[in-house]
């Protein structure tokens, strides 16, 4: 009896490490893993299936993230499948501590914890300026240049900044 060659085992950790190199198309300093949009990764003998959660339902970057993930995983398996799911809602609490740090380093206010699930919103809370750390900031607009951000202004360093929505 001749032995069939066993399919090469794909290392799950290597797949996750590769995903951690896929940047968010709008804020490249943050990876899709740090943003918390990777819901699950199924590694099979000849296919890898990744499920991602959109940060906002209407996020136009979702298709770019899908194809970037597919491209990055080429070579790990014969078939790469990336599906969008709403199985659990993406919330800003899914952003990792590393992701928060990188957001702040890029000039974005990281979201506050969405500690009240009935009212997941930043309003009325003192937010720190990502440039000088002052909490004397005011909201200019609950809506911003992308669906996931609001516009704030720091009255100390007089710098407008974009604040990730708590959602």
């Amino acid at each position: 009896m001749s032995a069939m060659p066993a399919p090469a085992l794909v290392d799950r950790r290597a797949v996750w490490a590769a995903l951690a190199e896929v940047p968010d198309p709008e804020i490249p300093a943050v990876s899709v893993v740090d943003l918390g949009i990777v819901h699950r990764v199924d590694v099979g003998p000849d296919a890898i299936r990744v499920e991602i959660l959109p940060t906002f339902v209407g996020c136009p970057a979702v298709e770019m993230m899908r194809s970037a993930i597919e491209e990055r995983l080429v070579g790990f398996a014969r078939r790469i499948e990336v599906d969008v799911t709403f199985a659990v809602p993406w919330t800003s609490d899914r952003i990792t501590p590393e992701g928060r740090r990188r957001l702040a380093d890029s000039g974005f206010g990281p979201p506050l914890p969405a500690n009240d699930p009935a009212a997941p919103i930043n309003l009325g809370r003192a937010l720190a300026c990502p440039y000088c750390g002052s909490r004397r900031t005011v909201m200019e607009n609950a809506f911003g240049p992308t669906l996931c951000r609001s516009i704030y202004y720091c009255t100390d360093c007089r710098q407008p900044f974009e604040q990730f929505k708590t959602v």
Partner: protein, 263 residues
């Protein structure tokens, strides 16, 4: 995008399929039409911050519409873009409330207030739907709609408590829209079966009453005219206006230039 949902969609009892499709179509068309109408403010809103806000809100609504068309597409085996752009105008099932032209700023805010609060009551019920793909999507949408509600609540109060023209325009708009307000809750063709199966956890008439109960204290506080409880439900999601036919011409114009184009 469709693998998981498509498998769930095929598991739907065939007797419920049409009713569920009508529910999804009404949700998608409502969001699509109001999203498109509100996107017209891009570039011409009264102040720059509202230009940003309305553009963002409109984009949210179009995103919600796309997701609802996605669920509908999984169920009936059609492409979401085809559902959004290739149907004749008379097959749209959006409610009369969103069928009006956008009007002036007060009119847009009046309509957004009536629609967002009504939609919120509807979404709260659908979050408990027995059709898992719908319940999951609605759980996500509800978190985003919080921002819309806060935005429009601030505008309603600002216009209602201003003296003179702003308040007059708001009141006139609410009087024009009032008779169509409860068309959001137009009963669905197969509603009994949808309620029994838990796909629609609460009948539309009960949701309407829940919405009116929530609206009454706010409108009493601001001395605004309450919409009548009963709308002309025979026209609730049909009989569209010339304003809609104009909007339809706008939102299908690029698609019609080259229906086969790949974007």
């Amino acid at each position: 995008m469709t693998t998981i949902r498509a498998s769930l969609a095929t598991a739907v009892d065939p007797a419920l399929r049409n009713g569920l499709a009508e529910l999804l179509r009404s949700l998608a068309d409502d969001e699509f039409v109001i999203g498109f109408a509100d996107s017209e403010w891009t570039g011409i809103a009264p102040i720059l911050e509202e230009d940003v806000a309305m553009s963002s809100i409109a984009q949210d609504e179009l995103g919600h519409a796309r997701a609802f068309y996605g669920l509908l597409g999984d169920l009936v085996g059609e492409d979401p873009d085809h559902l959004a752009y290739d149907r004749p105008p008379e097959s749209f099932r959006h409610c009369r409330l969103v069928d009006h032209a956008r009007g002036d700023w007060a009119f847009t805010m009046a309509r957004r207030y009536l629609y967002d609060t009504a939609d919120s009551v509807r979404l709260n019920a659908l979050a408990e739907s027995s059709y898992a793909p719908l319940a999951e999507l609605v759980a996500k949408i509800r978190r985003e709609e919080r921002y819309h509600l806060l935005h429009v609540d601030a505008w309603l109060r600002r216009l209602a408590t201003a003296e003179g023209e702003p308040r007059d325009r708001l009141v006139r708009s609410l009087e024009t829209l009032g008779p169509d307000a409860t068309t959001v809750f137009t009963p669905l063709p197969d509603e009994k079966a949808l309620v029994k199966s838990g796909i629609l956890p609460t009948p539309m008439a009960a949701l309407r009453d829940r919405w009116m109960d929530g609206l009454a204290p706010v409108f009493a506080e601001l001395d605004l005219p309450m919409p009548p409880r009963d709308a002309d439900l025979a026209r609730g999601r049909e009989d569209h206006s010339d304003a809609f036919r104009w909007l339809y011409g706008e939102f299908t114009s690029v698609r019609r230039l080259d229906p086969e184009a790949t974007w």
